[in-house]
Symmetry: C2
Subunit: 312 residues, 2 copies
């Protein structure tokens, strides 16, 4: 019976690594730089070296390790192949097989970073006790991860849970990063909230504390908490888009709970005050009791979820 498991979260600038016991207690965590040069060819060897060095440092024999789970920023299919990870310089890469071969055949599981983070929140974060959940990451973009019966919904091409790019607005004139117009990400990400605020500020000369300094998702929600009427309008717009989007997702996969994370979620439960009205108004009655919670693992969700993948 293995005692340990590694969780690895590959980001565009750093790789986070964690050593866990099989109950999910983190024993050690550290980072190494992500070497994206030369098509990212050093990334997996660097990870393998770091894992093997940790085992050596702690005198952990290979037989005591259940395996290594890896989350990566791109679509990962059910076989553990990642298709295009722009931020890492990778084209198609058999993540699972390549890393396993660098680790002398050790078990490796791979998944998309947002999906893996969702699994982490289920295991040890805001979604504990729920086997059916949707994790929503409101950061620079909007990411999502769907867990059904305790497992990641990968989808046919690794695009399961790509909820940032569901279409929510027919009349958008600025393109989303994905090339489409009117994606949820254009209104519910940190960038999106900033853009909604900038548009609102330009619309007329209504007074607002947002006119006196930097406009960001953080300053918008700080202003909301201070009762700023214009900021509240922006939060209502944000909540209208996100609430309706989550209601659609609820009607499709019927999760027990939405776990909201990412930088924007630092605003706290006030977010739910703006998301819930549109959610409640438009959701199918059978999904009306879906719960909402904040993510609790922050940037560690990825290493937790990666480790959990190996233990299933």
């Amino acid at each position: 019976m293995a005692k340990y498991v590694f969780g690895v979260d590959i980001g565009g600038t750093t790789v986070k690594l964690g050593l866990f016991d099989v109950s999910g207690n983190v024993l050690d965590k550290w980072e190494i730089p992500t070497r994206t040069e030369d098509g990212g060819k050093n990334i997996l060897p660097d990870i393998a070296d770091s894992v093997l060095a940790k085992m050596s440092e702690r005198n952990i024999p290979k037989t005591d390790v259940a395996g290594v789970g890896v989350g990566a920023p791109g679509p990962v299919d059910g076989a553990g192949v990642i298709h295009r990870a722009v931020n890492l310089g990778w084209g198609e890469m058999h993540l699972k097989r390549e890393l396993s071969s660098l680790l002398d055949g050790m078990r490796v599981e791979g998944g998309n970073d947002a999906n893996v983070a969702a699994l982490g929140e289920m295991w040890k974060g805001g979604g504990q006790g729920h086997a059916n959940l949707v994790a929503v990451t409101l950061g620079t973009g909007v990411g999502g991860g769907i867990i059904i019966n305790g497992r990641i919904l990968t989808g046919a091409t690794g695009s399961g849970g790509e909820i940032g790019h569901i279409h929510v607005e027919d009349h958008e004139t600025e393109a989303c990063g994905c090339g489409n117009y009117g994606c949820l990400e254009e209104y519910a990400s940190a960038t999106g909230i900033t853009r909604l605020a900038a548009r609102r500020l330009q619309a007329d000369d209504k007074d607002s504390v947002l006119r006196n300094g930097e406009v960001s998702a953080k300053t918008v929600f700080d202003a909301v908490k201070a009762g700023d009427a214009l900021a509240i309008e922006v939060a209502q717009q944000f909540g209208e888009y996100l609430g309706k989007g989550l209601a659609v997702i609820a009607g499709v996969v019927n999760p027990e709970i939405f776990v909201i994370g990412g930088g924007v979620s630092k605003a706290g439960e006030v977010l739910f005050d703006y998301i819930k009205p549109a959610f409640d108004r438009t959701v199918f009655h059978g999904c009306r009791n879906t719960q909402f919670a904040l993510a609790t693992l922050g940037n560690d969700a990825g290493i937790y979820g990666a480790a959990k993948m190996v233990l299933d």
Copy 2:
């Protein structure tokens, strides 16, 4: 090793039953009336009697039967409990346990009828060869069933795949049967298409063959095929709503294929000409190659899928 399996599809007026071999060849199929009086208390005993009579008629011993799968019109949770089946007169009912006890402990599996039909289309219908699919039933309402890795996505409360009630229109003034406003079902069902056509006919006095007789989903698509300009406008509206709705569903669960069934699907592949433009325009790029097919099992999808549930 069992040789046979029964599939049962409980409808509001008749119960369809099928006897299959374990490869999915239908050996016999028949119907009995659905006795909804007295809170539907006779329905399960009638089914049990009919199954046992068929076994007796064909000299099939219990040990040769893998079990009985049942699809029913209501939300069925992962434990086989149906929560409210209005058309049958049922409140909460432990479908799986009750029927099994009437069948002397024989294995019973239960699911929502739309989900079960989706499984049938995967096994022997329009979705063969695909383990990840979304079945869409365009009938009086819009039903849906989602299959992930060969299994029904049930959801937390049995509302998984309730895609008829995803919100697609903010400016609707007529309520959907569910009580909300702007559900997909209000535009993409047979009833919805008829309503769109009626609205369009009232809008002005543009010439159309639809002014000369009954207006229904069938006459609308017959007129589309005959080149009627007004009917084509109606089909475009239908396709805009359904195409955008399916694009959102694709971004959430990333199926390999959509299998379109129900009465409206009798119009044939012309439907895809109207669904695809909005789908292609709004879908996440990772899901752009999602296939579309017509359902092929018609009203038998339920008995096939019900049987398949027992074989998993």
